[in-house]
């Protein structure tokens, strides 16, 4: 790419987009500095380049720009960020400027923030489970190092508490080793941001956390770079320094809205609900940066949080996310109203990598059977509860009634737990057996008889 060039020829400004004329050799994705009349500098990136014209997206927004004095400096480089071990314990803005009062980080390395795709043949298949201490996750949707498992939530639901609890409790299974945390806030409120920072400080997690904050009143377009900065930092920590990294990104919906804003300003043909047709590819370029690499000790596990507008799981953001990520944790407003924390509705939840991470030598041999039986029993309990709501419970058999008891106890005793309560895999599975033991043995069709013999605590019937 050519070296530094400066142009004072902005010809059009529309939304977050500006057009510069007279430039023949702007590189695609090249970083630009926009020098405003009042001397401030904003960063931007080339979205389209042609002979005599470049289209630039400005991360800080286009307020106060003009077409006379504003100058655009093309840097001749793709977007990079300096990385260093010193980033741990620090807080940065959504564009990676330190905002905790500390000085700037002395870089050990410059890395391109768009990242490169991991060669699929070099990926290590993730099989080491993470103990999050949350029964609904560990028991039925086990998280594995190198997995990307988003939390589908809605406004007003306690996803922040859950995310904070997981980052606090998560342990590499079989060790006491905790995770380095990279937290990327996109469009969350000051209050939520403060909650996370305080939470990390109180629990001592802050020393091994890197925090990027783009808050609700920060420039919306900046959100397009924030997760990329965070993931670049995570890749450095994981693959260069060999750490196990947990990346928490919140809120993916705000990210997608920024994407839509840019797309609309460029007058692109939209796909669903005005979101651009390339949103799947774009989200994949974030989510696929989770994983493990053969021969390198570290891992990147992603726990993104997205709010489903109107709790609609078919909305493009959760929908495209679900097609890329390895499962999802879904929070339910109904359980939340019942006062159950964490309000995880296990039925639509899924962890695609669970099978490889559980069982003999990993968690416990009965784990897969128990999980499957819990699902079958809970699904049946829910169906019966729906039936009872319509026709009353007179026609129910004794076994049916057991399922209703199970439903209630499962939600309160298994899913429900305290905000500071961490349960080990053994505790979670034993708790499951307590509940399953209310059924006669032959109702446990999904469990191998040898495990029933070992763990069943009910009567013989």
């Amino acid at each position: 790419m050519p070296p530094l060039r400066e142009f004072q020829s902005v010809v059009r400004v529309a939304g977050p987009i500006l057009a510069v004329s007279g430039i023949d050799d702007a590189g695609y994705n090249e970083v630009v500095k926009v020098l405003l009349p009042d001397g401030t500098v904003r960063t931007g990136q080339v979205l389209e380049s042609r002979k005599g014209m470049a289209i630039v997206m400005v991360f800080g927004g286009t307020r106060d720009l003009d077409c006379d004095i504003t100058a655009v400096r093309f840097t001749g480089r793709p977007m990079t960020m300096p990385v260093s071990k010193e980033m741990l314990g620090r807080i940065f803005s959504g564009s990676a400027d330190p905002i905790d009062g500390g000085g700037s980080v002395v870089p050990e390395k410059e890395m391109e923030i768009s990242g490169y795709a991991i060669n699929p043949t070099k990926r290590e298949f993730p099989q080491d489970s993470i103990e999050t201490g949350i029964s609904a996750i560990d028991g039925m949707n086990t998280l594995v190092q190198g997995q990307k498992l988003p939390v589908f939530s809605g406004s007003g639901l306690p996803h922040s508490f859950l995310a904070a609890q997981i980052t606090r409790q998560a342990r590499v299974r079989g060790t006491d080793e905790s995770f380095a945390v990279v937290f990327a806030a996109m469009g969350i409120t000051h209050e939520e941001a403060r909650f996370f920072v305080e939470e990390f400080s109180e629990t001592g997690a802050r020393a091994h956390a890197v925090i990027f904050l783009n808050r609700a009143d920060d420039p919306a377009i900046e959100r397009i770079v924030t997760p990329r900065l965070a993931l670049t930092a995570a890749e450095y920590l994981a693959f260069d320094l060999g750490m196990h990294v947990l990346v928490v990104m919140q809120d993916i919906t705000a990210y997608c809205e920024a994407l839509r804003e840019v797309s609309a300003a460029r007058e692109e043909i939209p796909a669903r609900r005005g979101y651009p047709g390339y949103m799947y590819t774009d989200l994949a370029s974030l989510y696929e940066r989770a994983g493990r690499v053969k021969g390198r000790p570290g891992s990147i596990t992603q726990l993104s949080i997205l709010s489903m507008p109107d709790d609609d799981i078919t909305h493009p953001v959760p929908d495209l996310t679900g097609y890329i990520t390895e499962g999802q944790i879904v929070l339910s407003r109904e359980l939340h109203r019942k006062g159950i924390y964490p309000p995880i509705d296990v039925l639509p939840c899924l962890s695609r990598l669970m099978q490889g991470g559980i069982g003999e030598g990993r968690t416990r041999p009965d784990h897969a059977n128990v999980s499957s039986q819990l699902y079958a029993a809970y699904a049946r309990g829910r169906r019966l509860a729906g039936l009872v709501a319509v026709i009353g419970d007179e026609g129910l058999t004794d076994v049916d009634r057991l399922y209703l008891t199970f439903l209630d106890r499962f939600e309160h005793e298994f899913v429900g737990q305290k905000r500071d309560e961490g349960r080990s895999f053994d505790e979670t599975l034993d708790r499951a057996w307590d509940l399953l033991s209310i059924f006669p043995q032959d109702e446990l069709k999904r469990i191998d008889p040898k495990y029933i013999k070992e763990h069943y605590r009910g009567g013989t019937g």
Binding site: G27, K51, E124, T281, K294, Q355
Partner: protein, 584 residues
């Protein structure tokens, strides 16, 4: 010739000028880094190019070089066990060159130029041959004899042929004199443009089922060798697991697995499992019959568009040798989205949901490359295509699902509700269909037994009946149902839990041989028949539920196959004595 150069870049789409003479779908090399691209539009001397690698940093003014060749794949011995990206770059070799991450501008030949293969000629000097003729053969793996065929567009007289011996793919093995007297040197390696179907003599009707070892598929919604099937389902319904199960256990000779825009960790899973799993038919590692195309969702979108064509061309190449090939494309929706993305960048007028107007015809062209055929050399070969579809929001009315359903003959509808109960494979028995069931009935009657057709339709009717009864139960409760209907509900539950549910992760149940499927079906069917008769004689549904033989019918799947064979007559006998009139 004046040098062509880039005049515009927007994402994966680039425009170049001074391209007069260039052809549609010609491969070009873009920029200083010589990124691989393909021409997808021409306007006077300006060409629109889709680039198969990341275009970051490319500037206007950089050169564009023409190859004068359409996008092609390399075909020859050594394809099996390989893993390629969407444009057939070998990923293992790229990893050796550029490390753990895929960087730009790196390339390696698709087929090794160093590896030697034992070639046995089957022609002699003076033979007159035409396209598709057998030149010789190479034992590619223990099971697969790789026939070296003359490229379809060549013909002539054999001037000289190499003797038996070891050759690399680019050594000359045949000197062919054409009509004009010119001698052409032929190697084992040939190139074929991916967007052009390889020619055949004729299409033949399908006759044999594609046995997959999955009960709900083989017994209820069967697929045939040379057929087309679609597996649509919302995320989490288990599309990928179904595709993996088929790739592992279906009885095709060759598997081409196209991971089109899917997850990197899933490809890693395939790469981890396939070398260690054993093909039930040949007892060889599954990898030995597999070619993988892995263009994950974060790899360049244009290469994703090309990946299904790369896959099907390789499948056609093996079909031409007379093999039965099965191709899994996971997911065709990502391919369609790649088309939409490129179409959007070209500012084409969109059709439904922003997809290009040619979506339906592209899908049809692709699926039509499947089929059982008579090849140019007179062999019979087949390609079965199984495409996953990922409808947004699980809504089957969207364009990709609907356009696919117009073409394919088997529809396995995956259902979120079933998946939530962990009923896998989550194939919805009310929505799914197979237009091949009559076609495969003779096979089943020969290999299973004469009752196959009757039992299948009885059991499907049972499930339909269950659905109707469930609706009544929703209104009046289960109590008021007559005993016969209560019993029907109980049998339907056994059929679902014991027969339709099949664990992909259970070492035994993951593959259920057709004989066992038939016997399991027989047991449940007989139980249903005898039980109904017993209810007529005054037995209650609850009494039947308490019979020890009822419990016997659950968990049949994970019983080891030999054990099941000896258990089968015992359960039959037990059933006969448990029900009144059972020996009838």
């Amino acid at each position: 010739m004046t040098e062509s150069s880039i005049i515009r870049i927007t994402g994966p789409v680039v425009e170049a000028d001074r391209m007069r003479g260039a052809q549609m779908y010609e491969v070009v090399f873009v920029g200083e880094d010589e990124l691989i691209g393909e021409i997808i539009g021409l306007y006077n001397d300006t060409a629109t190019i889709q680039v198969y690698e990341d275009t970051t940093g490319i500037t206007p003014g950089e050169p564009v070089k023409r190859s004068t060749m359409p996008l092609s794949v390399e075909l020859g011995p050594g394809l099996l066990e390989m893993i390629y990206d969407g444009i057939q770059r070998p990923l293992t070799e790229l990893g050796d060159l550029s490390g753990d991450f895929i960087v730009r501008g790196v390339s390696a030949p698709a087929l090794s130029r160093e590896k030697k293969f034992l070639f046995t000629p089957s022609l002699s000097e003076g033979d007159e041959i035409s396209g598709g003729a057998v030149i010789g053969s190479v034992p590619e793996t223990k099971q697969i004899l790789h026939t070296i065929l003359l490229a379809p567009d060549l013909s002539g007289t054999v001037e000289r042929i190499a003797g038996e011996g070891e050759y690399t793919v680019d050594e000359t093995i045949l000197w062919l004199k054409d009509d004009t007297g010119k001698v052409q040197k032929i190697t084992m390696l040939q190139r074929w443009p991916v967007r052009v179907p390889r020619p055949i003599q004729s299409k033949l009707p399908a006759i044999r089922p594609l046995i997959t070892g999955q009960r709900v598929i083989d017994s209820f919604f069967p697929m045939v060798q040379g057929g087309t099937a679609a597996v649509p389902g919302p995320f989490g319904a288990g599309k990928t697991v179904v595709q993996h199960q088929l790739a592992k256990w279906c009885d095709a000779d060759i598997i081409v697995y196209v991971g089109c825009g899917e997850r990197g960790n899933e490809m890693a899973d395939v790469l981890r499992q396939f070398p260690s799993l054993v093909d039930p038919k040949t007892k060889e590692p599954l990898m030995k019959r597999t070619v993988l195309i892995g263009n994950t969702s974060n790899m360049p979108v244009a290469a994703r568009e090309a990946s299904v064509y790369t896959g099907i061309t390789i499948a056609e190449y093996y079909r031409d040798m007379g093999y039965s090939v099965a191709l899994m494309a996971d997911s065709t929706s990502r391919w369609a989205e790649a088309m939409r993305e490129i179409s959007g960048r070209l500012e084409e007028m969109p059709g439904e949901h922003g997809y290009p107007a040619y979506l339906g015809s592209r899908l049809a062209d692709f699926y039509e490359r499947a089929g059982r055929v008579k090849t140019l050399s007179g062999e019979e070969g087949s390609i079965s295509v199984i495409g996953a579809v990922s409808p947004p929001g699980g809504d089957f009315s969207e364009p990709v699902t609907q356009n696919t359903l117009r073409i394919v003959r088997v529809f396995w509808a995956l259902d979120a509700d079933l998946a939530h109960q962990r009923h896998f494979p989550a194939v919805n028995w009310l929505l799914s269909y197979s237009l091949y069931s009559d076609l495969v009935a003779p096979w089943w009657e020969k290999h299973g037994g004469s009752e196959w057709g009757t039992m299948r339709s009885d059991l499907l009717a049972l499930l339909q009946k269950e659905n109707e009864l469930e609706e009544i139960v929703q209104l009046v409760g289960p109590d008021l149902l007559p005993e016969e209907d209560k019993f029907t509900l109980n049998v339907a539950a056994i059929l679902r839990e014991s027969f339709l549910v099949q664990s992909a992760f259970d070492p035994v149940d993951t593959f259920c041989p057709p004989e066992k499927q038939y016997r399991m079906m027989t047991l449940i069917h007989r139980y249903y028949r005898l039980g109904r008769h017993a209810v007529g004689e005054g037995m209650t549904a609850a009494e039947i539920q308490q019979l020890p033989v009822t419990a016997r019918l659950s968990r049949l799947g994970p019983i080891p196959h030999e054990e099941f064979d000896s258990l089968y007559p015992k359960i039959c006998e037990e059933m006969n004595s448990a029900f009144p009139g059972g020996d009838a």
